[in-house]
């Protein structure tokens, strides 16, 4: 391992320093949640097409068995988190602010927790080809576990289209409260580092930068120790600042280059993966186990005993709250993820999914929203924006209904980090404006697409009908001609006969 102390970092613009409140759960070792009575496993836990169910009500499944296979290039399969009986495949509230019903497999654990026989553990994984690694990662249903949930295998296959030189492992965990990646790095450094090496192999990169914020010295130390033998890995301490964990800003900090707008970090030869994803890759390749559980931080001022818990995918969230001793008070808000970019939860019935890194019960005392005041143009948001945008201008244009001009101002370059709304002295919900506008633009685009499609189909139909008509006309003309021909022949014949008679 090369030392990270002398590693040159590049400055990024903007950013904020929220109170990290990680001390609530940072000291708690990862615990395994007891088996919940029912698991609700959604078919879509990733970006892309939902998986297609392969099981039916009444089926008996083993732990790790494939429940639903991926559909299309960007998708991920889903596996059984434990052995048991399928209770049904149908609608269940989604792990999403809307709480809308989505297709979900309900599994009743049998208590045996019995693994599938056909797992393929592997000791000589050093021999695997990049294709083999990516393929196994795809079959294990691994997605980006930092919250983005993009299918990891697709990212591991980027070497086919880009020349890559660096793999960045994102251990920044810059969201306040969350400590699951921190604990993972401290407790399972070996597995994480092995997973990282496998990913680097799949990508064919020359160097690995393992980036960890400086507020996690223990994690830095244990990863350094685990990576001691590897020449490729450099552990880099990052300044503690939000949003340091934003993929593009992390890469800029480490490499000094900005990712071109609307592009990927792969455009500048870098791929970023999360710490938890690295462990999932280790499980998949070395142990042959698919992604069926993850570590979540259950914390917040309203939780009795904040903890870091290893949770089976599909566990309803109220089981987590119960395990952590319940609430000390009625929480003001329940959040999935961190307080900066997390989403409000519609209820505690919704299941833990592959992308859930935290369950926060925030107290009203600390986080109560104050009334919104007019913008005083203080430029706090301009200085806080890591993307060089002018949030106050964008919000004004959106308020006035001119979404197109807000796009010209850079709306689509906004990463939604919330730094602007965090610092705003007028408590203007800027992120809400931006998300509204992004959603509205997307829906307009869909409408436009639909209209174009309808128009295209209608035109195609007209053309078809025209062709049919044309064919008919031609056929008619032909027949007419034939008839005339016949008539003429008949007449000629008649004339000939008449001529002969006379």
């Amino acid at each position: 391992m090369t030392t990270g102390k002398l590693f040159k970092l590049f400055k990024i613009r903007g950013g904020v320093h929220p109170d990290d409140r990680k001390q609530l759960s940072a000291g708690q070792a990862i615990e395994k949640l007891p088996m919940p009575p029912l698991l609700h496993i959604p078919l879509q836990q990733h970006i892309g097409a939902p998986a297609e169910s392969l099981v039916r009500r009444g089926d008996e499944v083993k732990k790790g068995q494939l429940l639903a296979r991926n559909q299309g290039a960007i998708s991920a399969p889903v596996h059984a988190p434990t052995s048991g009986r399928i209770m049904g495949v149908g609608g269940y509230p989604a792990h999403h602010p809307s709480g809308l019903s989505v297709r979900t497999i309900t599994l009743k654990p049998d208590g045996e927790d019995e693994w599938l026989d056909s797992l393929e553990p592997c000791d000589d994984y050093d021999q695997f080809s990049p294709e083999e690694i990516a393929d196994r990662v795809a079959r294990a249903g691994i997605v980006g576990m930092g919250g983005a949930t993009f299918p990891s295998a697709v990212k591991l296959n980027l070497r086919k289209r880009y020349s890559l030189h660096t793999l960045v492992i994102n251990g920044a965990e810059c969201e306040p409260y969350l400590t699951c990646d921190d604990r993972l790095m401290r407790e399972q450094a070996m597995q994480v580092v092995e997973g990282v090496k496998l990913m680097a192999r799949a990508l064919g990169v020359e160097q690995i930068l393992f980036a960890i914020e400086n507020n996690k010295p223990d994690a830095q130390a244990s990863i350094r120790e685990a990576a001691e033998q590897s020449e490729m890995i450099t552990v880099v301490g990052l300044p503690t600042r939000y949003p340091m964990g934003s993929e593009k800003h992390l890469v800029q900090t480490l490499v000094g280059k900005e990712t071109p707008a609307r592009g990927l970090t792969a455009d500048i030869g870098v791929v970023v993966h999360n710490v938890a994803t690295a462990r999932a890759v280790y499980d998949a390749i070395v142990l042959g186990r698919p992604l069926i559980s993850r570590v979540m931080t259950v914390t917040g001022e309203s939780i009795q005993h904040p903890k870091n818990v290893e949770v089976l995918i599909g566990t309803p969230l109220n089981n987590l709250i119960d395990y952590c001793g319940g609430f000390t008070e009625i929480p003001e808000r329940l959040i999935s993820g961190g307080p900066m970019m997390g989403q409000p939860l519609p209820s505690l019935r919704v299941p833990a999914v592959k992308g859930s890194n935290g369950l926060l019960a925030l107290s009203g005392k600390l986080n109560r929203a104050t009334t919104e005041m007019p913008c005083i143009r203080c430029a706090s948001c301009v200085n806080a924006c890591p993307c060089g945008l002018v949030p106050l201008d964008m919000a004004n244009h959106i308020k006035a209904g001119s979404l197109d001009s807000s796009v010209k101002l850079g709306l689509l370059d906004c990463i939604g980090c919330g730094s602007c709304a965090y610092v705003c002295p007028s408590h203007i919900p800027l992120v809400q404006y931006f998300n509204y506008a992004k959603g509205e633009l997307a829906s307009r685009q869909r409408t436009q697409h639909k209209q174009n499609e309808t128009k295209r189909l209608a035109e195609a139909r007209n053309e078809r009908m025209e062709k049919i008509k044309q064919a008919k006309r031609e056929a008619m003309a032909k027949r007419k001609k034939e008839m005339e021909e016949k008539k003429r022949k008949k007449a000629e014949e008649a004339a000939a006969v008449a001529g002969a008679e006379s």
Partner: protein, 362 residues
């Protein structure tokens, strides 16, 4: 748990609010203000209070007429701050109605007519000051020598009441031109600068503020300390003050070097009059200054340039209010053209292109 599950984050917030921002500005104005009130005595205190109370009442009245909630807007402290800043730029022994009319102009005409907090194009205190200066040139240019509270030359409480609220002639007895005003007059009469400057306050007096001038503008040192505190507290950034004072000092030095007989030197420009107050508290007014860093530097430089031009070649000895208002008018234009560069794009807004590596190389 709250019902509004559709709202977006962040669900945590910095300890910032408008009232905190305004409070910090007032706190940083406090030393210079207390010094001004002490050195100009009871009349100054009466004028100061009159102006602030009038501002608050005008604000409450306007909010009521506009049908806006009164309490949250009064509590944000912006009306008090406007009154405070206006009072600091008035001659300390000006009659009460100067403060009152100034307050009405600032709050009603300059701020509320434009739509209230955050909507005004021009700095309210400067609008009031300019309007007063043009309408009441006599009252607005009658300055007096410092007469610290409880000192021998200071007017008593009742006498002070008469100065502010009555029709007293006592002010004429002690009236005295400001440094800039004196120099302007003398230079205008063809007197060389070295002679003209002999009768003005020393640099030290200007720095500390023991000189005649507006109520809260005299103590450059205390204003500077307050301004640095604001930068330290991140309410303002250094860009406007530095570019403004830098431009002013640069121009003053340049012309002073060329002709030291007719052009006033940089120290006098910086330390006398409203330059320091303007640099840290007026030009940096959040609402009426540009939001980008490059915009702020341009804005500050523009203010500095205009102040020098007005002070040197125009009819008024002091040009701060005019300069700031002219630059306020440019703010929307500056904000339109000088935006920060967006991440991943060049200055023109096109996505960055790296020539030698990366993109679709295979």
């Amino acid at each position: 748990m709250s019902e509004e599950t559709t709202t977006f984050g962040p669900y945590t917030h910095a300890k910032s609010s408008i009232s905190r921002t305004m409070g910090l500005v007032m706190l940083s104005l406090l030393p210079a203000t207390l010094f001004g009130l002490y050195q100009f005595g009871w009349p100054a205190i009466f004028l100061f209070l009159t102006t602030i109370v009038a501002c608050v009442v005008a604000e409450a009245f306007s909010l009521r007429v506009a049908g806006k909630p009164i309490k949250p807007f009064l509590m944000d402290g912006s009306a008090v701050l406007t009154g405070w800043l206006l009072a600091m730029t008035l001659p300390p022994w000006a009659p009460w109605w100067i403060g009152l009319i100034g307050a009405l102009l600032a709050i009603i005409v300059a701020k509320q007519v434009f739509g209230g907090l955050g909507q005004n194009l021009f700095n309210p205190a400067m609008v009031a000051r300019v309007a007063l200066l043009i309408s009441f040139p006599l009252e607005m240019t009658l300055f007096n020598q410092p007469a610290p509270l409880f000192s021998a030359q200071a007017p008593g409480f009742l006498e002070s009441l008469a100065i502010t609220f009555g029709s007293s002639d006592s002010i004429d007895a002690v009236s005295s031109a400001t440094t800039l005003g004196h120099l302007k007059t003398e230079l205008g009469q063809g007197v060389g600068l070295p002679e003209a400057a002999t009768t003005t306050a020393s640099i030290w007096q200007q720095l500390w503020g023991q000189t005649s001038g507006s109520l809260g503008e005299t103590s450059a040192l205390l204003l500077l300390l307050g301004g640095l505190f604001l930068i330290y507290k991140k309410v303002i950034t250094w860009h406007i003050p530095l570019s403004m004072l830098g431009t002013l000092a640069l121009l003053a030095s340049l012309f002073h070097l060329i002709d030291s007989d007719s052009y006033v030197g940089p120290m006098t420009h910086l330390l006398s009059g409203a330059a320091i107050l303007c640099a840290f508290f007026i030009a940096t007014d959040l609402v009426t200054s540009p939001v980008s860093i490059r915009g702020q530097i341009l804005f500050g430089a523009g203010c500095g340039l205009l102040i020098y031009v007005i002070r040197t070649w125009a009819g008024y000895p002091e040009g701060v209010a005019f300069a700031v208002m002219l630059m306020n008018a440019c703010t929307p234009l500056i904000d339109h053209y000088l935006k920060p560069r967006i991440y991943g794009r060049d200055r023109k807004g096109e996505p960055l292109v790296y020539s030698n590596e990366g993109a679709d190389s295979k």
